[in-house]
């Protein structure tokens, strides 16, 4: 049982990192941004290029990769999303095209061979008697810091208040003098940076490959729907639910069923409580 508690926490942290960025953009920007998985891949490839190809020190390269992904996110918002933001369908299509284009560009630039990013640590730690790769502990720690920082930023700073105001009522925020475009831009950049951070932190445990964007996007979707669209506490809770449920199914039943878990949870949630765990109705 302790095994599941420890391993589930590690997995949940990764999901929280992924889903928080997605929930920000859905809740604040009212945008279903299908480029979110692409940002995850861009972060990983940027780190690979900086650290492995250009031999930049790991920490510096990782930070630069996250920053770069945030800048790409801002660019996507400015160039692709803003001109069509009133059309949900156009945003969906354009961001999906961006994700597919990113995949093809990565294929062209790096080939089909999977790549490796060195781990931040190769140590193995014992947590409550459970062996955990040091890299997973680093990922957990950084995820916890980023989540806490995001929480403080959104709920305890004037800029965060503006974000919440835009999330609550975009038009009212506009009338109150809030620069809605700027808030959306900052939110998209932060969302992309969080996805990039997830890519940088998890890639040493996985591999870097051009099609790596899809699964994180699906998982982010599942968590955000489960937690309630636009709810940061809801996404955190859903990350824990999905992370622990997958780990428990893998541990007690079989890993072959682990990927079914988020889908079943979404299905159940949509049937029982369509607004999600802590969600509210979104108005167009």
């Amino acid at each position: 049982m302790v095994d599941v508690l420890v391993l589930g926490a590690m997995q949940s942290a990764v999901y929280a990192l992924l889903a928080l960025g997605f929930t920000l953009i859905v809740g604040v920007g009212r945008l279903v941004n299908l480029a979110h998985g692409a940002f995850y891949a861009i972060g990983a490839y940027a780190a690979y290029t900086l650290v492995v190809v250009w031999k930049v020190p790991l920490l510096l390269g990782a930070a630069a990769a996250v920053l770069f992904t945030g800048v790409v996110g801002v660019g996507v918002e400015r160039i692709l999303i803003r001109p069509v933001r009133t059309s949900v369908m156009a945003v969906l299509i354009l961001t999906l095209v961006f994700a597919l284009l990113t995949e093809q560009l990565l294929y062209a630039a790096y080939g089909y061979t999977s790549r490796n990013i060195p781990a931040f640590t190769t140590a193995t730690l014992q947590l409550f008697g459970v062996s955990v790769p040091g890299q997973r502990v680093v990922t957990f720690g950084v995820a916890a810091i980023l989540v806490a920082a995001l929480w403080v930023y959104v709920y305890h700073t004037p800029a965060g208040t503006a974000i919440l105001a835009v999330a609550q009522d975009r038009e009212a925020a506009l009338y109150m003098g809030i620069d809605v475009d700027r808030v959306t831009r900052v939110t998209t950049g932060a969302s992309a940076a969080l996805a990039g951070a997830a890519g940088v932190l998890t890639s040493p445990l996985l591999v870097v490959s051009p099609h790596m964007w899809l699964l994180p996007l699906v998982k982010s979707f599942a968590i955000v729907i489960l937690g309630g669209l636009g709810s940061i506490p809801g996404s955190l809770l859903a990350s824990l639910v999905v992370g622990y449920a997958e780990t428990a199914v893998s541990y007690f039943l079989t890993s072959a069923l682990a990927d079914l878990v988020p889908l079943l949870l979404i299905l159940g949630m949509l049937l029982v409580r369509p607004t999600g765990l802590l969600g509210r109705h979104l108005e167009a």
Binding site: D3, V4, L7, M10, Q11, Y112, T113, S114, R115, N116, I117, P118, A119, T122, T124, V130, S131, V132, P133, G134, Q135, R136, P204, L205, L206, V207, L215, E246, T247, S250, Y251, T254, S255, A256, A258, D259
Partner: protein
Amino acid sequence: MRFAATGLALAFCLAAALTVLPPGVAQGSVVKVGAPGPLQLGVGQGILYGLQLAAGEINARGGILGRKLTVIPEDEAETPEVGIAAIRKLLEQDKVDVLIGGQTSGVTLAQLPHIARARVIYLGVGAASPLITEHVRRDYNTYKYIFRVSPLNSTYLGIGLADFLDEFVRGELKLTRIAILGENLIWVQGVLPALERRLAEKRGLEIVYKELFDVRITDFSPIFTKIRSSGAQFLVPIVSHASSDVMAKAFASLRMPIPWGGIDVKSQEGDHCEKLGGAPIGQIVLFGTPPLRVPLTPKTIPFFDKYVEKFRREPVYTSFGAYDALYIYKEAVERARSFDPERVIPQLERTNYIGTGARIAFDEAHDLRYGPGYARLHYVQWQDGCRRALIWPKEVATGRYVALPWMR
């Protein structure tokens, strides 16, 4: 008058020769060799490179019955729908004379009806499911075009793996409790029953853990945690399509306290260890023909050297298979003196060819023969510094087994 008679005689002889020579000789057209495979992967590229090397050599010596060869690759992307599209393109659009390739059993099985309908010879070099050649056994007239040049089918892989576990793991390492971790795919379902049956016959080894996992899995921590607490002393992975990079990383980062070895196709690639950042993985990998410069037959080292010189990388198992397959086809066509599949197939059935890794012959189901004098299995270990050593069978070993760094 005398010159005229001689000229007439020569003309007659030439005409007679043209009537008895197969159409291809007279036409002088190219022989199209279709190469279906997962071309984005090392094993797929191995098919293509093996064929290109053989075709280049054969063309340099005049081709097959005077016809030059051209290799037409087509990506089957490890999915049945793409695989069917690839095979139909090769058959219907390119109108290939022979197909040499394949790597994913599920894809090859989906392609079989199309190949049989087109009546084109297919020499498989990558897929291991016994169901592929079982088609030949069950319905010879329809599926007689299908042969497997490599690898050994998964039943033989299971038997051979069990023998290795008994002789090396139990006999040499003195370990008796094993865990089996396989991907949940059709070819593994061929390996497992044979492996378990053989282990039951051997009686010295106990399977204490067994799991078939989804190939898309990215978190191996729960599985390895379970294996660790199962009391297993040796881990046997059986994977080909899953991300073995991720599995190996998890194994190394958790410092799993048990040695491991089995079937792991992606870890057969020469850059596998480098892709993992040089992590010490200590994995023992089963090979039909190990990608090492070891003289298994008189052709192994010449092939190895030519391959490395031409492609700047080491061959994988499909490279050996594809290279041999094209030569086997060449010899069968030359014996048949025809490219007509109906005449080439009986000649292919009589194949007794010393390949790059072993003597190659086919059984009544057109499957690669296994056993003394024919193809056998070899075990290579990834050792420190990303070096590889052939550790089993002993008589061809190039090095000794080395314990995992954290267990020394």
